[in-house]
């Protein structure tokens, strides 16, 4: 009896990871890449590659749980990376440049939130508009080019082999982990987090129960904007240039990660753990396919199939447990 329940506890613990495990198992069992796929060096590089989408997904999770959507996330990342590069290029101290980059992201998010609550338009429209605006401003600032900024310690944030080597992972990865935990705590253990769920589940109810829905939404979008800003900083750190055309279409990857991780576009559902798993499912899929050297079209097909499979698996489990 006891052993059985322990086993069940283990299964329950692993359950959300099912899709991810599926992907890992597939690639670890292909003889061709087996030996290299699960190596520390590869895991490190997948982790680093995931930081940008993961940071975006943290904010997007908040937004999607609250019943919204942010199409401007990718443009915001590009804009923030350009601002950071611009600032460093202008000779500002790197730390200030980072702050400016994040602030830009936060500002875009704040504007999103204010317009959504102020004009009472659906988030889809506002952030669609902002998607063009932020991208346009980024290109403008950068003069339609990329900005080559001198190398500083900012570029070390996403170095696969971090400088003090005891760090093991790039500082950006640690930051991502820290922020993921912090956001998860925010969502689960604070009043604000609970309000985010309530707004997404039934906004009218939240309002009638005295939740300040407008304020909460502005905070949600601003927070998400800050995350995008940080993601932009990381993008700059990785690219070493400020590129206004970077991350085109990345908003879909970010949203997909959240949805794969159980977020519902109609609000009220989602989790940080899930979204992070979603991010890593996609990263490992791409990584594995590249390692296999499969042509891109095969890769696209396989990723499509596995996304559906992974989420189906998760769904079946959910239905079982319900």
């Amino acid at each position: 009896m006891k052993r059985k329940s322990k086993l069940r506890a283990l299964i329950n613990l692993l359950a959300p990871f099912l899709g991810l495990i599926l992907v890992l198992v597939i690639f670890s069992s292909i003889p061709d890449v087996q030996s290299r796929f699960l190596r520390a060096a590869n895991l490190k590089s997948v982790a680093t590659q995931s930081v940008i989408v993961a940071l975006g997904a943290l904010g997007m999770t908040l937004i999607i749980i609250s019943g919204g959507i942010d199409l401007s996330a990718a443009s915001n990342i590009a804009l923030s990376s350009v601002v950071t590069a611009y600032a460093i290029n202008a000779g500002l101290p790197p730390l200030l440049a980072i702050v400016l980059g994040m602030a830009t992201g936060g500002l875009v998010g704040f504007i999103n939130g204010s317009l959504i609550t102020g004009l009472r338009l659906v988030p889809f429209i506002i952030t669609l508009g902002m998607m063009g605006i932020a991208r346009g401003v980024a290109k403008w600032m950068a003069g339609n080019q990329k900005i080559d900024a001198p190398l500083t310690w900012v570029n070390e944030l996403m170095a696969k082999s971090p400088q003090p080597s005891w760090l093991l992972l790039a500082p950006g990865v640690w930051l991502m982990i820290f922020l993921a935990v912090a956001t998860a705590v925010l969502l689960r253990y604070t009043v604000f987090g609970r309000h985010v769920f309530a707004i997404g589940s039934n906004e009218a109810t939240a309002r009638l129960c005295g939740v300040r829905t407008k304020r909460a939404k502005i905070i949600i979008y601003s927070l998400a904007g800050l995350f995008c800003g940080l993601s932009g900083v990381m993008e700059f750190s990785r690219l070493t240039v400020g590129d206004p055309t970077v991350a085109v279409g990345l908003e879909l990857d970010i949203i997909a990660a959240v949805v794969i991780g159980g977020g519902s576009l109609s609000g009220g559902e989602g989790s940080i753990l899930g979204s992070m798993i979603g991010v890593f499912i996609m990263s490992f899929l791409r990584n594995g396919c590249t390692m296999m050297g499969w042509p891109n079209y095969i890769q696209e097909i396989i990723i499509g199939v596995i996304i559906v499979a992974a989420v189906s698996l998760d769904q079946i489990r959910h239905r079982r447990s319900a």
Partner: protein, 310 residues
């Protein structure tokens, strides 16, 4: 990665695996590079791993591909960098892992690679400008339709074109010089259509790559202006060759992608076998016109033999 520490001695039976990383995989240009690389691989008895970023022209994803290829372990990397700066670090990483890198097509800052095999893009733009000057006798209203923000090789071509026009042909009036066609044929088509609607009296157009050239060609054909407007494009595809023959296109600046791919891989193998290789190879730019398109040299560039890919 300690396994590939020293290049094996020449003549050793070991089969190298060489990664060739293009900027994208779905254009004729990259297929030609692929064909050249494959040709070289056959001749040299090595294997190649052909892998582009999943999204065409996405530099962040190209970095990812380079990193993944390093993780996988290859003997060498032949890379067409999407960015002369952003790809520096992954290339450094590769060199640190003792994986030599050869750069093709577009430049890379720094000196962390062993050789650079490319077209002189600026020169390509110059060639186009000169052709335009010749076609219109240095007088007239012209468009420069740009490709995409932040694309280094096309920006060079645009710069070459623009500077030559300004320097050598003061009689030209540039009606448009800041419009970007975007990455797809359809977006180029729409842009050109709208521009022609605005300036129906345009006399000459230059486009810096295949997709923008083809999109603009379609717009000209649809507006019954094909052949009337002097049109110079860049790179080749069957439809463009046809247009050249029909007189809808008056010049096509060509590179030699097959050679680029071929040399990239050949040099890599030579390097791995311990031979010395040149640091810089210019594969040349050529101008195809209706008149010279049937000469053997130009014909081979216009319709490269890709049968090796099948």
């Amino acid at each position: 990665g300690k396994n590939k520490a020293t290049p094996p001695a020449p003549g050793e039976a070991k089969v190298f695996k060489i990664a060739v990383i293009p900027k994208g995989t779905t254009h004729e240009f990259w297929k030609s590079i692929h064909a050249g690389a494959l040709q070289a691989a056959r001749e040299q008895g090595v294997e190649i791993l052909w892998k582009g970023p999943q999204k065409e022209d996405d530099r962040a994803q190209q970095i990812t591909v380079v990193e993944d290829v390093i993780s996988r372990g290859v003997a060498g990397i032949v890379l067409a960098p999407l960015d002369d700066r952003a790809l520096c670090r992954p290339v450094q990483d590769a060199m640190r892992e003792k994986i030599p890198v050869i750069i093709i097509d577009s430049g890379l800052q720094g000196k962390d690679y062993i050789s650079f095999v490319a077209t002189d893009n600026y020169q390509g733009g110059v060639l186009a400008a000169k052709r335009m000057g010749e076609l219109l006798q240095g007088q007239g209203r012209i468009f420069l339709i740009r490709y995409q923000e932040g694309s280094a090789s096309t920006t060079e071509r645009e710069r070459g074109f623009l500077e030559t026009v300004q320097k050598e042909f003061p009689g030209f009036r540039l009606l448009v010089k800041d419009q970007y066609a975007g990455s797809t044929t359809e977006s180029a088509y729409q842009l050109a259509e709208n521009l022609i609607g605005r300036f129906p009296d345009v006399e000459g157009i230059f486009c810096p790559n295949e997709s923008s050239t083809f999109g603009t060609l379609r717009a000209l054909q649809e507006s019954q202006l094909a052949g009337k407007v002097k049109f110079v494009g860049f790179d080749s595809s069957p439809k463009l060759v046809q247009a050249l023959r029909d007189g809808h296109l008056h010049g096509l600046v060509l590179q030699n992608p097959v050679k680029m791919g071929y040399l990239g891989v050949t040099e890599m193998v030579q390097h791995l076998r311990g031979q010395k290789i040149p640091e810089l190879v210019d594969t040349g730019v050529y101008l195809a016109t209706k008149e010279n398109m049937d000469t053997a040299e130009i014909k081979a560039l216009l319709t490269p033999d890709l049968s090796i890919l099948d």
